[in-house]
Structures are given as structure tokens and as C-alpha cells.
Amino acid sequence: MVIRKANRSGISPLPRAGPGPGPLGRRVHRLRQHGVPDNFVLPGLGYLLVFACYPLYQLIVMSFSDVSSADILSAWPSAGLRNFRATIGLPDFSEALAHTVVLVAVALVVNLVGGTVAALSMRVDSWATRVALSFMVFVWALPGVVVGNLWRFLLTQDGPVNALLVRLHIVAAPVPWLVNSHLALLALSLVNAWMVLPFSTLVMRAALLDVPQDQSEAAALDGAGAVGQFWYVIMPHLRPTLSVLAILLVVNGFRSFDLIYVMTSGGPGTATSTLPFLAYRQAVQGFQFGVGAATAVFSLALVLVFAAMYAVTGRQRATP
């Protein structure tokens, strides 16, 4: 992949030849020793400390405090673990956790399998591939609000999807996609997976282009079939990318909000409410800032576990 190439040139030893001691030599030496001034990082770092890290710290404080809408801007009395006990004890919470798991599972299956199949099918560059790929990339660039809106329309009782299914005699009567709670969760998960699939396809396609062609040819000469070639020659090259992709998909699932807000508003009832959506509902609609913060901190902790996995997987990839 492009990264690995970049890494390789990044760590390549610098040529030893160059100016000797003296002011110029010292300047170059300094450049080599310390890289470019670390000060370049400071403005961005300072910004993040104030507007990203400090709010996160506030969130954690809030999750251990008693915060109502009246004292949101003043001091907060401590609440100990009360907020966490309150939210984890709610049926809404375990439900939202289960919904998040379903959303993530569907995204994983569709994107890991589908992304690989799509990338394999689009490996050969033809006009058909290019047209299909540009529609996919176009959808990927659409705002979540637009995608949610579009599918809310496509999936209405008398909408195009049902009309098409009835006309093709796949179903006898229109399917209540967003009305039935189980179907709504399934539909939402599928649309979410559909929205991310272009990204997965691009990533897998890039990984596939790095697979040495001669290995496949050698395997073919040794009599390996298409399946054998894929499993023993191509798959080992794809595995690192697949695991990074899997972690990105999990994190994406734990951030899912836009699509849900627009497509189902968490409903019918709470049928499609996920952890981030529950945190939003508790804090913004229920004014239970402390409880909402506790929910957010809990899902953040889960995301951090995956972030750690991402970092470890990334390191393994950098040093094959």
C-alpha cells in the first residue's frame, strides 16, 4: 500500500556524504538530529488541548457529577458512580448496546466480504468498472443526512423499493421496513453498510493492487484453481488490511449518529437507538447531562479498546 512505500522511504538511512563540520555542516547536522523544529507541531497541539482534550476532560468530570440544565455553566456537585449505575441499569442501555452490536456486525459482514468481492471483481480496469466505482465513490461523498433522507423515502410503505419488490413478485404485500422494529434495525444496518462499502472497496482494491502478480501466475502454473489462488496467494496479503478495516468499521459503528437521526430518529420507539444516540437523547432531549455523559464515557471506553487494537495492528503492519 501507499503507506508502506511512504514508510519505507521515510526510514531509509540518509546518505553519509555531505558538508563536514562548520556552520553549514552544523545546520544540516541539526536538521538530521532533531528533524525540523518540533515547534511546527505546537499550534495544532495547543488547539487540540483546548478544544478537543479539555472538552473530553469535562465530559469525564460531568459523568461523575450531578449536572442539570440549571447549573450546566456553574459548579457541579459530585455524584460518584451514580450516573453510571443509573444508565447501565436502564433497559434502554442494554437495548442500545445490542442495537450497536447488530449495526456493527452487519457492517463487518457486508464490508469485509463484500469489499473483498467487489475489489476482486473491480481489479481489472475497464469502463464498466470505472462507471460503477465512480457511482460508489459519489455515494460515499454524499452527506449522511442526504443518504438517510433518501432511504427513508425509498423504504416508505408505498415507496420505490416496495413497488419494485411487489412488481418482481418477490413479496406479495409491501414490507413495513421502517415501521416494524426488527426490520427497521435491519434496514438501518444495511443502509449503514451500503454507505461504507465504497470506502471498503477502495481500501481493499488498493491492497489488492499491491499483491505481486507473479505469485498468482506461479500458483496458476502449479495448477491452483481460482479459489485456491485466492485463499493461499492473495488472502495472506489482504489480511493486515482487513484487520485494520475491521477496526475502522467497529469504531464507525460506535460513532453512528447522523444516519439514525435522519432515517429513524432512533425509532420506532427505541428500536434503532444505539449508544451514541442514547447519549444524545439523555443529554440533549432529557437534560440528564450527567447520565448522558456516563453513557458517552462508557462507549468512549469501548472505542478506546479498539483504538489500542488499531495502534497495535498498525505497528505490526509497519514492521512486517
Binding site: M1, S9, L14, G18, P19, L24, R27, V28, L31, Q33, V36, F40, V41, P43, G44, Y47, L48, A52, C53, Y54, L56, Q58, L59, I72, L73, M122, A128, V131, A132, F135, M136, F138, P143, V146, L150, F153, L154, D158, L164, R167, P198, A206, L245, V251, R255, D258, Y261, V262, S265, P276, A279, Y280, A283, V284, A296, S299, L304, A307, Y310, G314
Partner: protein, 268 residues
């Protein structure tokens, strides 16, 4: 023989992505009576009445807001991210891995988690209600992503060029601005495109931090219309098409570099 399943997959993907996009466009060009008469019909008599409706409702202002917010965020974000990514790509400090880990973590934080605390922080700084606060919040959300995607582009720049410039007596800032930045132009373009697309699609911060609905961005208007008003599908789809225009336009300009940058960015 071997390529038949392949072609089927490509065809399925084409239909799976092109048809919904077609319906989005087609519905925005239909009249309300036409929609459910033949919902799956591909041909229809086009009308621009839905667009007239959303223009009357003031979508022009929303488009302007989107330009201000997305343009402002992209500019501020790049201004901070370019030097930071360069510094991180060249620094040999022991802190670099820790900083990268911090960026990865920040990039993964759900937007809903930072909403309430940011509300408080922006309030304390007097930044609530206007565009500036929203740009500040959007920049905080996207800066880690921008730095992480930009860093590989800087790492790919051979250090020899910088060294020879240093020998010629150029300062670190001059080397960065005159030598390194021009070389990494493609990467910067790709990230700028992505930043613009993501910001123009953002709505949660917009509906929370902008006090005046007259200042709402396209995405914010659309998100609220969905929940507030009845179902005027052609108008909703027309507004959706309008909300996609910034993404479409920027994307048309930078698709190639985006696709390349995207595959570079995933490995971090």
C-alpha cells in the same frame, strides 16, 4: 467464463449505487402527485416546482452558510494541520508515538460525546451562536484526521531536498513553505477536499451551536426539516440534492487525488 461472475458483481454494484442516486434526482424533479402513482417507474414528466419551493423557503441562505462554515473550517484546519503533520513526520522526539496515539483516539471520539462539553467551553469563550464557534468546533473534530492523513505525504518527501536548502541558508519556515509544501500539493488538495465534504455534511454541531435558524447550513436545514415538517418528498429530495452540491462540486475537482489520498490515509 471466469469473468462472468465478475461482471455480475460489477453490474450489481452499479445498479445498487446508481439506482438510488437516480431516484434521488428523479424524485426531486417530480410533482407530489406523480411520486406514488408509479413509484418504481423510471420515466416521468420533469418539473422544477420542488426546487422553486425550497428556494422560497430560503435554501440560498443555507447554501451560503455551508460555504462559510465548510470553507472556514477547511482553511483553519489546513493552516494548523499542515505544519503539525510536517513536524510530526520529521520529529525524532520520543513523544511522537504518544502524540500519534492521541490523534487516533481523538479521531475516534463520537461527536455526541463532545457536544455538551463543547457547548460549555464555547460558551465560556463567548463563541456560541455564530459561525466562528461552529468553525472552531468543526476544526477540533477534524484536525486529528487531517494530520493523520497528511503525515504520510510529508514522510514521502526526500530529506535530501530540505538538507540542500538548509545548506543554502534557508530557514526552517522557508524550507517548509517554499520547498516542502509545493511537493505535497496533491496530498494537501486531497485532504482539503475531504475536509470540505465532511464539514458540509455535518449537522449536529450546526443545530446545536448556531442560535439563529437563519444561519443554518444546508445539512442542518435538511436534518431539521426531516423531523419538523410533514412529508413533501419532492421538496425534501430537492433540498437533499442542494445539500449534495458542495460535495459533488468539490469532488468533481478532486476525485482522483481523494481516492489516492484515501488509500494512503487508511494505514494512518
Amino acid at each position: 467464463m471466469r469473468s462472468l461472475p465478475r461482471r455480475l458483481v460489477v453490474l450489481t454494484l452499479f445498479l445498487g449505487y446508481a439506482l438510488p442516486v437516480y431516484w434521488l434526482l428523479a424524485t426531486s424533479l417530480k410533482s407530489t402527485q406523480d411520486i406514488f402513482a408509479h413509484p418504481a417507474a423510471l420515466a416521468f414528466r420533469p418539473s422544477l416546482s420542488a426546487y422553486a419551493t425550497v428556494l422560497r423557503q430560503g435554501i440560498g441562505h443555507a447554501a451560503l452558510s455551508t460555504l462559510i462554515v465548510a470553507g472556514g473550517t477547511t482553511a483553519v484546519c489546513l493552516l494548523l494541520a499542515l505544519p503539525a503533520a510536517y513536524g510530526l513526520s520529521r520529529s525524532v522526539s520520543m513523544l511522537v508515538p504518544a502524540l500519534l496515539a492521541l490523534l487516533i483516539v481523538l479521531q475516534m471520539v463520537p461527536q455526541t460525546s463532545t457536544l455538551i462539553p463543547l457547548f460549555r467551553v464555547l460558551g465560556q469563550w463567548g463563541l456560541l451562536g455564530g459561525y466562528s464557534g461552529l468553525i472552531v468546533a468543526d476544526t477540533a473534530m477534524l484536525l486529528p484526521f487531517a494530520v493523520l492523513v497528511l503525515r504520510p505525504f510529508f514522510r514521502a518527501v526526500p530529506r535530501e531536498i530540505e538538507e540542500s536548502a538548509a545548506v543554502d541558508g534557508a530557514s526552517a519556515v522557508a524550507i517548509f513553505v517554499r520547498i516542502v509544501l509545493p511537493v505535497t500539493r496533491n496530498g494537501a488538495m486531497a485532504v482539503a477536499t475531504l475536509l470540505f465534504i465532511i464539514t458540509s455534511g455535518e449537522f449536529l454541531y450546526s443545530i446545536s451551536f448556531l442560535s439563529d435558524p437563519g444561519k443554518y447550513t444546508l445539512s442542518a436545514t435538511l436534518a431539521l426539516q426531516v423531523t419538523q415538517y410533514g412529508i413533501d418528498w419532492p421538496a425534501l429530495m430537492a433540498a437533499s440534492v442542494m445539500a449534495s452540491v458542495p460535495a459533488i462540486a468539490v469532488f468533481a475537482l478532486g476525485q482522483r487525488s481523494v481516492v489516492r489520498g484515501l488509500s494512503a490515509g487508511t494505514g494512518k
